[in-house]
Symmetry: C2
Subunit: 304 residues, 2 copies
């Protein structure tokens, strides 16, 4: 695809062009989805909330007993290596760690040593209309994997569940799909968390017990709400409550707060981005500015 | 690993040594587990029940809307290519088809064209004591993915669920783990189907509705039972019925019928392979001989 932005990849410490960036077919990430990952971006060349993402990467690893053979500083060094080669202001960053290669078999003990893959590519700005008009989202028929099978709070290479849910959205030209769990509770979007202002005007986001990834934007937004004394309920959200919501918005590290215009083809509230979304979106952007200023100092001290 | 048998890999029509066999890090099989696969073996150079496996590969593809850009004959030709290069009597064969590469994103429409990977390696005989003494198996705490999330009847690259269940077995030095579904019904082993002779002497194997892969050995064994007028019940098996079974055995394409010696550390029946396992195992081996003789003629006509 010649029109795509340039992509560079750090594979185990060496930077490759996108066409040369390859991994063994015996890698367990390829064979079984036996891998973990994180996605973030850079702003003016500085990684966004990197420590939060690395925290979660190590937590994901612990949950599937995948020991990372890299210290946090080594991972930062490898990220800096590929970002320096890419040399763009705003980059998409995907850090993948697999359990490695070995004899073929489910036993994790067959793997010899983990593989590290860091994909970096230029990230063009998102369309403005997502934020000025809102996006169209559906509720998928595909149910989210339950915690007792594959914990959605592990960010792993097993994403076929989400691929199938997204495919439902894609067929309807929707922006994303929300997924329910087996008890009928709303969990999350396919790559985002979800928030609502319900019929009674209460701000809510699903509790982790509903089976979802603990998003980093979600975490920071909960902190902002605490600081600003905005009430947030972390109780399960059922489909009916979702359908009657005055406002719905998605949160993700790269897209931040994205308001919904429609849910399953019906207008959400007034059909335009609502006042609570606006208030929180503004507060989040200000919060990010502060955090990112500190991050820039730290990053530039190590990577002048 | 110098002591391992030689492995050769056909990647999109070209045969590579194991160290050269690589795939793009942008392949959706690597990123998301967005792939399907089959495992079989050869006997005296001839693939075992290949048409059954290819049938299932196409069915898996249909279920996740992954269109295979290969005809059945083309797949056979590619398999023959790598087997000819490997040149062993008995080979393990893994055929993987991924949705391909493209821009990074869950949307299946981003993939350009599917990738084909066929791994072949020498398959040494399995240890005799598996069949003379039986194997030790546990019941995993990890529950099998439910059909409404990721259908276990799709043989996909999303196997972390099974990896985690197998890891429980591995920690206890067990041969395999049986997985229950969210209703407490027995589904399957991590890479096998399961059969029991219950306390009342009735032969049973879980119905597909319990959420499991429709195994090819399972299918053939059901045919044999029909022909020989052996009653088989395809009703859900709960944990208690499993624990009280007189006999339990696993079935898989490569390992055939493997009897259990213990379940969760307790003897199954007499603690030795039982009479129904013996009868069915003998009948299955005879059935296979007939089928394989026909397969040999067909295969050798095309691959002299």
């Amino acid at each position: 695809m010649p029109t795509s932005p340039k992509r560079l990849v750090n594979v185990n410490g060496q930077v490759f062009s996108e066409h040369e960036a390859r991994i063994s077919v015996f890698d367990r990430g390829f064979l079984f989805g036996d891998s973990i990952y994180e996605v973030t971006q850079t702003i003016e060349g500085v990684p966004f909330m990197l420590d939060d993402h690395l925290d979660r990467l190590y937590r994901s690893g612990e949950k599937i007993a995948l020991q990372l053979p890299y210290s946090r500083d080594e991972l930062k060094k490898e990220l800096a290596r590929v970002l320096k080669a890419l040399a763009v202001e705003q980059a998409y960053v995907r850090i993948i760690i697999t359990r490695g290669e070995g004899e073929i078999g489910l036993d994790p003990g067959l793997a010899t040593s983990a593989n590290l893959v860091i994909i970096a590519k230029e990230l063009p700005p998102y369309p403005r209309h997502w934020y000025t008009e809102g996006v169209d989202v559906i509720v998928a028929h595909t149910l989210r994997n339950p915690t007792e099978s594959i914990d959605p709070n592990v960010k792993s290479g097993n994403y076929l569940n989400n691929v199938m849910a997204f495919a439902e959205a894609s067929r309807l030209k929707a922006f994303d799909a929300l997924m329910l769990n087996h008890r009928g509770e709303v969990t999350e979007g396919t790559t985002s968390n979800v928030w609502i202002v319900n019929e009674q005007g209460l701000l809510k986001t699903p509790p982790l017990a509903s089976g979802l990834l603990e998003g980093i934007t979600r975490k920071h937004l909960l902190e902002i709400c605490r600081e600003q004394k905005i009430e947030v309920s972390l109780t399960p959200i059922h489909l009916e409550e979702l359908q009657k919501a005055q406002e719905i918005f998605l949160t993700s590290s790269t897209k931040r707060l994205v308001p919904l215009r429609t849910l399953d083809g019906k207008a959400v509230g007034s059909g335009s981005p609502g006042p609570i979304w606006r208030q929180l979106s503004t507060a989040y952007d200000a919060h990010v500015q502060k955090i990112q200023a500190q991050a820039r100092e730290q990053w530039q001290a190590v990577n002048p």
